[in-house]
């Protein structure tokens, strides 16, 4: 790779140190042209042939593909471009990927909800095929032969009848003079001719990752910038009472302090407010901040205490709630008496804790703002920044760096607005650096949730009536003050869509007030809903004296399409993706077979647990194997995932997502818990907000992808929901101890 390519690539990643400075610690920090102001200067736009937003072909044969979605570890910066490259018949080694800035012209860029491939699979294919057709037409016209006799093949157009060939680079200029073909003229490749789709492609940024050259939000640098560390009000909605910055200003390197106004409810993506310390390096800013003498007026959320709140949630879950879905008459069936079983489940608040905390560099100048940040949501960042500094969104350029993890946190651009606001105040570029403590204490938390479950078993042990009720402070509370009920979206995540074949089924949701910012975390409401449903199914199997796998298959019932709309449910349907129980059954059977389910008798500290869950349109079954020693230490020797995600663009990165989901799930099940005392978050760093380390992670996670003709569904999140119930079911099999509230570490396990 040439030096030129290196520099341009780093520029787009927001990694703004020149190659020279990087090598061995030169003192001068220089900034390449991209950073100096040529907003969004993508080479794709300047390439000779550039018929659409996503691709450019230059005369030297370089193919530029524009990545419009954020890279936070899913591999999307590789997996969408490879789809375009496939249809273009590009040589992957001659493809350069460029990261798009936030711009509505690219369509949706909010990289969450596991829908990047689903939404952009066809646009990528069409974009690639369109360019291929133009190159073919240019060649055909050059040779004076019919275009039907020519084909685009691995970066060149060939005329097999005469053996003539022309490279894409040679054809780019001629092709650019042709009209862009209409959609109906464009022919997509047959599946049998796919070169990259469905094959294993390495992450595009792999070498930069292992050499330390990859540019994240925290790595963005501009000449003359200040570093900011911000003291936020410790209670949500708190206001500044008084502060004294004298000691802070006396710290060497500290240049100034700035006040940030509290938000106006609802808080949405607005900054929390507080006091910022701006300094010539990160350390000085952090030291200065420690010396701020700040008093706060806490406000109404100081009433928030997690222990009593938990009791309230679980009590509310036992009261009749809002009806979400109803089939038959569960209440009448319960009233008849019989074998009734009930249980309450609880999942605490969780924090995202991405390895890179929120970071943003902003440069406000003459009514325009340019930012470099690790964001999942660059268009949301444009809007939020615009509001914070009083400019139009079009005057805000958001360069998207690589993200050191996101998990939903970096969809909320509060920290980006902080940087822009401070840059405007200081008249200089400002980089806002959140510490780990800031990240843990001021997250948009995953909702704490209580679930009440009740079932009446028939003669064969299968439920004849089933009631489930969940209660949690909803995400809507972030956008609408005092919202207390789950939205249709939250209900559609593993609750209203419970796929079991039960004649009398009642689904409810109860109210809960929010006292902290509530947000979405990898797989969102599916986490607590799948935990309750997956645990309860296992409990009923044992209650009925039946094998959990066989019982789950019985619960799912005969293959059918679950039509919730027909049942009057306000369900977040995705057209083209019906709920097909045959696919759910199939992944269960595959996971069980691969794990050798039922081959070994559980007990004496060894066991397997199983759970199945459909989320983000993907069907996933998990078998988790555990060993529990006398001290309660849980070891996970093997995890088996079977998944049906429809068409898979890059199996290599799908496998890594599911391997990672087993580790993320281990964190949730074994360790994760955020609590509040008097409105203040009790945890602060990785010592007290524990996440899975290498010595506690599943030793081996096996991933089986079911061959599927269905369109592509999601893969970033669906591995998470079934993991915690499968693990707790395994712990029960191994020890006879049922854990209904997470994390396991609260119950003598470690």
């Amino acid at each position: 790779m040439s030096t030129f390519d290196n520099v341009s690539r780093r520029g787009f990643l927001g990694h703004l140190v020149s190659a020279g400075a990087l090598v061995l610690g030169a003192r001068l920090v220089s900034v390449p042209a991209q950073a100096a102001g040529s907003a969004g200067g993508l080479r794709a736009n300047d390439a000779a042939l550039h018929p659409n937003l996503f691709v450019g072909v230059d005369t030297d044969g370089t193919v530029y593909i524009v990545a419009t979605r954020s890279e936070m570890g899913t591999g999307i910066r590789t997996s969408l471009p490879l789809i375009l490259a496939d249809e273009l018949e590009a040589d992957w080694s001659r493809v350069r990927i460029e990261q798009a800035p936030g711009d509505k012209k690219y369509g949706d860029q909010d990289t969450d909800g596991s829908h990047s491939v689903r939404d952009f699979y066809m646009p990528m294919r069409e974009a690639g095929a369109t360019v291929r057709l133009m190159l073919v037409r240019a060649a055909a016209s050059t040779w004076g032969v019919p275009e039907s006799e020519c084909e685009g093949r691995l970066h060149e157009v060939a005329h097999p009848a005469t053996g003539r060939k022309l490279g894409y680079g040679e054809l780019a200029s001629a092709a650019s003079k042709l009209p862009v073909p209409k959609k109906e003229e464009v022919r997509l490749k047959p599946k049998s001719a796919w070169r990259y789709i469905g094959k294993e492609t390495q992450p595009y940024d792999l070498k930069d990752f292992v050499t330390g050259r990859a540019g994240f939000g925290i790595d963005a640098r501009l000449d003359g910038m200040l570093y900011a560390s911000i003291e936020h009000p410790p209670v949500l909605g708190g206001k500044l009472k008084s502060f004294d910055n004298k000691a802070a200003l006396s710290v060497a390197g500290v240049q100034r302090t700035e006040l940030l106004d509290p938000f106006k409810p609802p808080h949405a993506f607005q900054p929390l407010g507080g006091v910022a310390v701006l300094a010539s390096n990160t350390w000085a800013a952090m030291q200065g901040r420690k010396k701020l003498n700040v008093q706060w007026e806490d406000g109404a959320n100081a009433v928030y205490n997690s222990a009593p709140y938990r009791e309230e949630l679980l009590a509310t879950a036992k009261q009749p709630g809002r009806l979400i879905r109803n089939a038959g008459n569960a209440e009448a069936e319960f009233a008849k008496g019989g074998k009734v079983f009930e249980a309450s489940y609880y999942v605490p608040h969780l924090a995202h804790a991405s390895m890179e905390p929120p970071m943003a560099l902003a440069n406000y100048r003459d009514g325009k703002v340019e930012v470099w940040t690790c964001t999942q949501n660059p268009q949301g960042a444009q809007d939020t920044v615009a509001q914070a500094v009083g400019v139009a969104p079009a005057d805000v350029t958001v360069h998207v760096t690589l993200l050191g993890g996101g998990f939903g946190r970096k969809s909320k651009p509060d920290y980006v607005a902080e940087a822009a606001f401070l840059s405007k105040k200081a008249g200089k570029p400002v980089k806002v650096v959140w510490s780990r403590e800031d990240d843990i204490k001021f997250d948009y938390y995953h909702a704490v949730a209580g679930m009440y479950m009740k079932a009446k078993l028939g003669g064969d042990g299968k439920p004849v009536a089933w009631l489930q009720r969940s209660v949690f402070p909803p995400i809507q509370s972030t956008f609408e003050q005092n919202a207390q009920y789950g939205s249709a979206g939250e209900m559609s995540m593993g609750w209203s869509d419970v796929p079991y074949d039960i004649p009398n089924l009642r689904v409810e949701n109860g109210p809960a007030p929010a006292h902290v910012r509530i947000g979405w975390l990898r797989s969102v409401s599916n986490i607590y809903h799948a935990f309750a449903v997956g645990s309860f199914a296992d409990e009923l199997a044992h209650e009925a004296g039946r094998d959990p796998l066989e019982y789950l298959l019985d619960l799912i019932g005969k293959p059918r399409v679950l039509d919730l709309k027909a049942q009057g449910v306000n369900y977040h349907d995705t057209p083209g993706f019906p709920i097909e129980t045959a696919r759910l059954r199939h992944v269960l059977e595959v996971a069980a077979e691969k794990a050798q389910w039922g081959k070994r008798k559980p007990g004496n500290g060894w066991g397997m647990g199983i759970a199945v869950h459909r989320s983000f349109l993907t069907y996933v079954a998990t078998v988790v194997e555990v060993e529990v020693d006398g001290s309660g230490k849980v070891t996970i020797p093997r995890v088996h995932y079977a998944l049906d995600a429809g068409l898979i663009a890059n199996p290599e990165r799908v496998r890594s997502q599911f391997e990672g989901a087993s580790v993320f799930g281990t964190s949730i099940a074994l360790f994760g818990e955020i609590t509040a005392t008097n409105g203040r978050i009790d945890q602060s760093n990785f010592n007290d907000y524990v996440v899975t380390r290498i010595n506690r992670a599943p030793r081996e996670t096996f991933v089986y992808m079911v061959e599927s003709e269905a369109p592509p569904a999601g893969v970033g999140e669906p591995g998470v929901p079934p993991f915690a119930p499968a693990l707790c079911n395994a712990v029960f099999a191994a020890t006879g101890k049922r854990v209904r509230d997470l994390p396991l570490s609260r119950h003598g396990f470690a």
Binding site: V17, A21, L24, G25, A26, R27, V29, G73, G75, Q202, P203, D205, L206, K207, D208, F209, V210, T211, G212, R213, A214, G215, F216, I218, D219, R221, G253, N281, T282, W283, A284, S354, M355, L402, L403, G404, G405, F407, V433, R436, E652, S656, Q657, E659, G660, A661, S662, V663, N685, F686, N687, V691, T692, R693, I694, N695, A697, P698, R699, E700
Partner: protein, 151 residues
């Protein structure tokens, strides 16, 4: 005036001697490969080598780095990729990539002492480095692979 060697080059520093090495590397030298993750030595994202041993740059004050030979991820594969970096690429270890410079520096220090660590030794040596994406299984595979090349 603090003198130290970074990636083979002599450097001098006359700022706050309490400032952690991490911020000197990142903010002063522009060596951004070592990452900030916790500031308390809890996550390992900032791992660099000091006289060959893996240390946490976020809790190493400059005064303690005085006179030391520091190597960062940028200086690890002088003249090419280090066997650990090659193994990391072969196994496609990174997801988001943020913690990986720290993981690689930690693994390289381990393998310099012991090129065929047991599973327990890998666990013990690598458990200070958090990967939130959960790439641990591939990290183990890559360490074994690199160990073979170093043997």
């Amino acid at each position: 005036m603090i003198r130290l060697t970074i990636n083979g080059r002599e450097q001098t520093f006359d700022g706050d001697p309490e400032m952690p090495l991490l911020w000197y590397l990142r903010d002063e030298l522009g060596l951004t490969g070592a990452k900030f993750g916790c500031g308390e030595g809890l996550c390992g994202a900032c791992t660099v080598h000091q006289n060959g041993a893996a240390i946490r740059a976020c809790i190493t004050p400059m005064k303690r780095a005085a006179g030391k030979n520091i190597v960062t991820i940028e200086g690890l594969g002088a003249g090419g990729l280090h066997p650990v970096q090659k193994a990391w690429m072969k196994h496609n270890v990174p997801q988001c990539g943020y913690c990986q410079p720290g993981q690689i520096m930690q693994a390289a220090a381990l393998l310099a002492r012991n090129n065929s660590p047991s599973e327990e030794q890998i666990d013990q040596n690598m458990s200070g480095n958090i990967c939130r994406c959960g790439t641990y299984q591939r990290i183990k595979a890559a360490i074994r692979e690199a160990g073979k090349e170093l043997a």
